[in-house]
Amino acid sequence: MSTAKSTRSVIPKFHYRLEKRKESGIFASLLSILVALICSFGITFWVISLIGADAGTVLWAIVKGSFGTKNAVIDTLIKATPIFITGLATVVAFRAKVWNIGQEGQLYTGALGVTWAVLLLKDTGLPAWIFVPLLLVVSAIFGALAGAIPGVLKSRYNVNEIIVTVMLNYITLYLTTYLLGGIWQEAGSHYYNTIRFPETTNLPLLFETRLHSGFLIALLLAALIYYLLWHMKLGYKIRATGSNPTAARFKGINIQRISLIVMVLSGAISGLAGGIELLGVHHRLVYGFSVSFGFTGILIALLGRLHPLGVAPAAIFFGALHNGSSAMIIHSNVPRELITAIMGFVIIMLLVWEEVFKYRIRRVEDVQ
């Protein structure tokens, strides 16, 4: 321990190079994820026993509730869809090291856009095959606009995007509440919700189940983003900007423009997540329709190591946790918050083990 430490303090370059040199990157990464999951479930077990419940029963309830039946699986996928998409939105931004924390607000903005368009067009009798795609485009455009605000502020005036996006999250949330308590509130309703959207706005269902086509869109989007990042010029520039902005700038990549584009893209994707959630699940704008989908998306993107192929399983895992929690509260007296706690454990463990694994590799190189 002291060797590695002192080495680092003498020549900082030393440990940096060792880190990059590791060749078993993917394997170590997967292993660290596995160990992190095992650890967080260990902690969860322990916490459940503290509450006085039987840990085995509780966890089994979660697993059964999320994957036990066909309906359970479908519910899991439905729950996974919005966070899958906000996860992808995060990947695009974070790959360029643009720290968009505004997925939640952008998702709401997308939902607001959809609601506005529905309320505007509900009596025009537009057929579903036009109405649905139109609304999805509207949600993406609204999300893009929400992303453009921090994007322009960052690229033009170098304003920190984290602060702006976080502030916009609050503003959008309050705006939504304001609209739902006022002009958009369903007449006679005691809740914060709009009228039900017409049938022609429903996302088509898949396999004659409750699973809406939003999940398919998410999968497509993942493929698209993979293609964008590794096969398109724009994606190349995004990754270059994120990995080494100095070199990117020296070699003629306009990193200001890239950070703007990335913000707009990320916002559009988050907005789409909002649109899909409304048209696929709620069919109206309702207070609290997003259970922190934006923030969960960030966690998922990190868990999936900023790769579309990693985001997919991560989203399904979190979807399962969400879904399983319903079964859990039926079968035990464990509070729903436990699920949030588990998510927290998972994230902390992931970060810890990622570091530990790096450190391991460094030690192996050093002592052999």
């Binding site: 002291s2 060797t3 002192s6 080495t7 003498v10 020549i11 370059k13 190079r17 060792l18 990059k20 040199r21 060749e23 096969h231 398109m232 010029k233 724009l234 190349y236 520039k237 990754r239 270059a240 990995s243 080494n244 100095t246 070199a247 990117a248 700038r249 020296f250 070699k251 003629g252 990549i253 306009n254 190189e365 050093d366 002592v367 052999q368």
Partner: protein, 520 residues
């Protein structure tokens, strides 16, 4: 140079340090392979080897900054196994690292004291300063002890590092390529300091890859090649040529064979260029330079005198305050052209000082790096997509042509050695038609073979009518291949000379701002 420092009888002196069969590996790479050598008390012992030979690794093992896999180290007759440099310092071993940076706001005194954990109690700063001043006088070190070290020149920072070792009275001092960043005059001061240390009985291990330094100062020299000791020989009785043979393993021609080229009209004209640093201070003042077609203009200077800002202005990432730059018939300081993309498309190639920070993307593969900046060119893309097939075939070709040592186009560039990183940049930069090449320290960190390879590529560019502006603080390099030499000091051009009409000492004086060089 100073008189030689041989004071102790060579053979009778007992070894202060003996290394036996030391092996150190990094993964599959064997950086030190069964290294054995010993250093006699009061001697200057050179470790000579090309970049990557394992000199720094060996020094770090001796200093306890790195733990050897196998082997024994004896110091003052006792076997030692330091678990940290702190142990080594306690036993009397000091080290000045290669490429160290003192970036903190403390002044020299604080730096020297804090660096060593000699006592835990609060120190009397004034008393310690006196002690350090005395050391400075004793060894002839000229240093302002009150300036924050971050503001000192690299040479002066080196004195701080050396003072740290003297302050704790080491018996053995390891200096890892200390002269790489010094002016010829500073090198002389360093050598005279070393001479005084030796008289005081301090033994010195001097790491270098420069033959003339070995000849100048050492008693003995151990030659390392690819991690192995080739031989340990007394300096006396050897010549530069005989050492060179040991160093590269074959006879080596150190002359660059330039054919006579008639210089054409200026390819790059800089007039009255004034540029500010990020903090608003003047980086360049009224700089005027011409690079003609077919010539290499060497810009000599200690780093930090405006070279970085000149480079950045030329490639288009730093704004100019005043002045004109005419390149390829275009006034490039205009708003519309002063960006890296436009300038590069006019035919400017650039090799930056800091390859991994400014020229390459570490996580990217070799092939991705080979198209950095060229990604929009129709040769490597189709519509909005990259044409990986074309990129890969270009990469394979470049790897072959430039003899880049890599597992293939898909290897992350961060895993390549310095010389191969440089080749990746060169291959990329000359893959399009160019009119001017701006190269910053092109051979820094390269072994002799790679260095001469780079030079041969430069000559080829000249033959094709390009001009080269070569920014370098290495006078060997400057004198080796320049046609003319300009000297930059404090953001001003101190003079421009024909290479045949000037000597190193004169250039050294200009580099140090003439007689003012102690307090820059």
């Amino acid at each position: 140079m100073t008189d030689n420092v041989v004071v102790t009888p060579r053979n009778e002196a007992p070894p202060i340090l003996a290394v036996e069969h030391l092996t150190k590996t990094f993964g599959s790479l064997v950086a030190n392979d069964q290294v054995s050598f010993s250093v006699k008390q009061g001697h200057v012992h050179c470790l000579l080897g090309e970049n990557g030979a394992g000199k720094s690794t060996l020094a770090k093992c001796i200093y306890g900054a790195s733990r050897p896999d196998a082997g024994r180290i004896y110091f003052k007759g006792r076997e030692v196994a330091f678990s940290s440099p702190r142990d080594a310092i306690r036993m009397g071993i000091g080290m000045v690292h290669q490429h160290f940076v003192l970036a903190d706001p403390m002044n020299a005194v604080e730096n020297i004291i804090v660096g060593e954990e000699s006592t835990g109690a609060l120190l009397n700063l004034q008393a310690e300063k006196k002690k350090i001043q005395a050391l400075c006088e004793q060894y002839g070190i000229v240093l302002d002890l009150d300036t924050p070290v971050a503001q000192l020149s690299v040479g002066q920072q080196q004195w701080v590092e050396i003072l740290k070792a003297l302050y704790v009275s080491v018996d053995l001092l390891l200096l890892d390529e200390p002269t790489a960043v010094l002016t010829p005059q500073e090198v002389q001061s360093l050598f005279s300091i070393i001479g005084k240390m030796v008289i005081d009985g301090i033994s010195v291990i001097l790491i270098t890859h420069k033959l003339h330094e070995v000849m100048n100062i050492s008693n003995e020299v151990t030659i390392l090649r690819k991690g192995k000791v080739v031989d340990t020989v007394p300096t006396r009785g050897n010549t530069k040529a005989s050492l060179a043979r040991l160093l590269v393993g074959r006879d080596f021609d150190f002359n660059v064979h330039k054919e006579k080229i008639d210089f054409g009209p200026p390819a790059l004209e800089i007039k009255g260029l004034t540029v500010l640093r990020d903090n608003g201070s003047l980086a360049l003042q009224d700089v005027s330079l011409n690079v003609r077609q077919g010539e290499i203009l060497g810009l000599a200077g200690v780093s930090g005198n405006g070279q970085a800002e000149l480079f950045e202005t030329l490639v288009g990432v730093r704004k100019a305050e005043k002045g004109k730059i005419r390149f390829a018939g275009v006034e490039i300081l205009k708003e519309s052209t002063h960006n890296p993309e436009a300038i590069a498309s006019l035919g400017l190639a650039s090799v930056p000082q800091d390859r991994l920070r400014q020229g390459l993307i570490e996580e990217f593969t070799v092939q991705e790096n080979l198209i950095l900046g060229l990604q929009d060119s129709p040769s490597y893309s189709r519509g909005v997509s990259l044409n990986w097939k074309a990129i890969k075939s270009f990469a394979s070709q470049a790897i072959q042509q430039f003899e880049i040592k890599t597992t293939g186009p898909l290897q992350p560039v961060g895993q390549l050695s310095g010389g191969n990183l440089q080749k990746v940049i060169l291959a990329r930069e000359v893959s399009k038609p160019i009119k001017v090449m701006v190269a910053s320290s092109p051979s820094r960190g390269l072994d002799i073979g790679a260095t001469y390879y780079v030079y041969s590529r430069f000559l080829e560019l000249l033959r094709n009518g390009a001009g080269i502006l070569m920014i370098s603080e290495d006078l060997d390099e400057i004198f080796n291949i320049s046609d003319r030499i300009a000297v930059i000091y404090n953001g001003r051009i101190m003079g421009v000379f024909d290479v045949h009409e000037v000597d190193r000492e004169t250039i050294g004086l200009y580099m140090a701002g003439l007689e003012e060089h102690e307090h820059s």
